[in-house]
Symmetry: C2
Subunit: 361 residues, 2 copies
């Protein structure tokens, strides 16, 4: 067993606190990683506070993990000690279903879905057919910790030219926006609107701009208008300012909503071109305002998209390295994590907090 130190919550109402636990020794296919940096995702907060009503406690969050390989199992062939590597939202999948076989583990249809980096299987044994637990565990502990142990197939290479602290947010915020941009066929010369301009939104902007896309940002925060333009946005508007939105009617090949909480999409549907889609990447339950008197008149769609595959995660890391893209990060001490959560909830982060895990002490 590997002694591990982390920060986690013991209940929905608890603050994160230091805790010690043990990780299993590596199996032949596992990589042991000393964690250097972990990004703070809004999902971490939703999960810790049980806002999706599925949290298993204790909850040690963190799924934007960058670190160094310290040990490898006998069968590991792609990594060795000292390699700079990353771990995103998944650490295992069923490997047998059609999505897994076609390299889209993020849509795993196995009995327990994919195994999340923290909070265990996407479909807990209690919800799986026959109560099956194919992963042998009901909980997992994430990257707010000193060490993670992950099968090599779910470990990413951090390419040269990406600073480790900058690579961390690409592992969730990056791939979650990269995947739908690519799946919906967005490329050079297309027009995209990004709704919500936080951790995910600003990554979406940087990625799309580097793809040759004309990007419009819709935010609720006035000071982000100029920041978005400075990051390459063609235009940026206050999302609730109807006067600004009117001239944008029928303008976009894709609208990507990165807003992490319930929101009304009706006003944005007007901005889609014919046959275009509004894709929501947040786990926001019911999407309000899906108005068929709008959708039908231009054969539009409202769709969901969930993170991205391991292959897509490697692609976006490589794309960022090749194109000099890095998220805007603020490095924080793990002891400040509870205050950081509050600032994220208040929309005060600019744009991603990344925990320096050496501060675990």
């Amino acid at each position: 067993m590997i002694k591990t130190v982390g920060y986690g919550a013991r209940a929905a109402t608890s603050r994160l606190e230091r805790m010690e636990f043990e990780r299993d020794d590596p199996r032949p296919e596992d990589v042991v990683i000393e964690v250097m940096f972990t990004g703070v995702c809004h999902s971490d907060i939703h999960q810790v506070k049980n806002e999706w009503a599925n949290t298993v406690y204790p909850c040690v969050p963190g799924h934007e993990i960058v670190g160094r390989v310290t040990r490898t199992g006998d069968k590991v062939s792609r990594f060795r000690e000292g390699d700079l590597v990353g771990v995103g939202c998944m650490i295992e999948s069923c490997r047998a279903c059609e999505p897994c076989e076609s390299g889209e583990e993020n849509y795993c249809e196995g009995p327990n879905g994919w195994l999340a980096t923290y909070n265990g299987p996407m479909v807990p044994a209690s919800g799986a057919e026959g109560g099956e637990n194919t992963y042998g565990r009901d909980n997992t502990f994430g990257g707010y910790s000193s060490v993670v142990v992950v099968p090599e197939d779910f470990v990413l290479s951090i390419p040269d030219g990406l600073a480790p602290e900058a690579a961390a947010p690409i592992l969730c915020a990056g791939v979650t926006t990269w995947s739908p941009l690519n799946h919906w066929g967005i490329g050079e010369g297309d027009t995209v609107a990004i709704v919500g301009f936080g951790g995910l939104g600003h990554m979406a902007l940087k990625l799309a701009v580097a793809m040759g896309v004309e990007v419009t940002v819709l935010t609720t925060t006035p000071e982000k208008i100029e920041q978005a333009k400075a990051m390459g946005a063609h235009a940026a508007y206050i999302a609730t300012d109807k006067t600004s939105l009117v001239p944008l009617a029928g303008s976009f090949d894709l609208i990507l909503s990165t807003v992490p909480d319930k929101h009304e999409v009706g006003p944005f549907l007007d901005l889609l071109k014919r046959d275009a889609s509004l894709v929501v990447v947040g786990n926001i339950d019911i999407i309000d305002g899906v108005d068929n008197s709008k959708l039908a008149f231009h054969r539009q769609s409202v769709a969901g998209s969930l993170i991205g595959s391991i292959a897509e995660t490697q692609d976006v890391l490589d794309f960022c390295a090749s194109n000099g893209i890095a998220p805007e990060v603020e490095i924080i001490d793990i002891k400040d994590i509870n205050e950081a959560f509050t600032r994220v909830e208040n929309g005060e982060a600019r744009y991603r907090y990344v925990i320096d895990m050496s501060t675990l002490g």
Copy 2:
């Protein structure tokens, strides 16, 4: 001017009553058609009762029209006196926008949208940019009448082998389901669920079965279960019976909702395969239950679709003739139209009322 007799409503609360009016003489590109049969679409009721809050009175409905050509303008080349022809939901479009130029007039983006067979432009002059009225009229009168005058480009040929009364419902109910089945790439061996089994739903079933699709019907009317199977459904269930739906999870390449009123789609999202779409063809305003905690997990979409193009309308007429497909119709007298409306609203039609316009007297 052409003296015309029709049935229309003078206000949202009026019954349909006999009225006389005049139609313009044909322009060089127009075809004059003596109406033989007109289908009764649920939209006729929504429109007459101003349930979409956009009705111009008097309102003479009817957009599933079959008749004989009695006269043609000088420039008409495709039709001559005596031809059996049809008119669907549209009688003109801007002919200049990108959708019109690509043969999808039903998504016309001209200042007034397409010109509906009744109730005038889709975008009235008051709603168009600059208050423009490119059609020179704010209202049109439909096929609950003795004569219609329509530009030949919006007139369909009724192929040999289709009885005129059977052809009528294909012009709206048929093409409205045919278009999304084709647009979403449905073909032999695919699985489709049809939600709602009335005028549109039963046409969707017959068309899809002839395309080699395995069709499941979801209806709220118990007696329709066996009727759907008799028309070729692989299976049919009560749409609200959750126990029946559970085994259908992840089964369908497409779900087509033909329900003409507001309804909850949440339970149906579970039945879609990964990357599949639920398409709503009814003009139902807000679609309830679009749950991103479902959509995102299998990258699914909820989409709208609006009738079909003129080319698709001719295609579906030809397809029905070639495959021996005819809607289930009950011929009614125009004098019984108000009672027929009530029966349609009560879900009592089996499956499409078609008015014998010779009863106009």
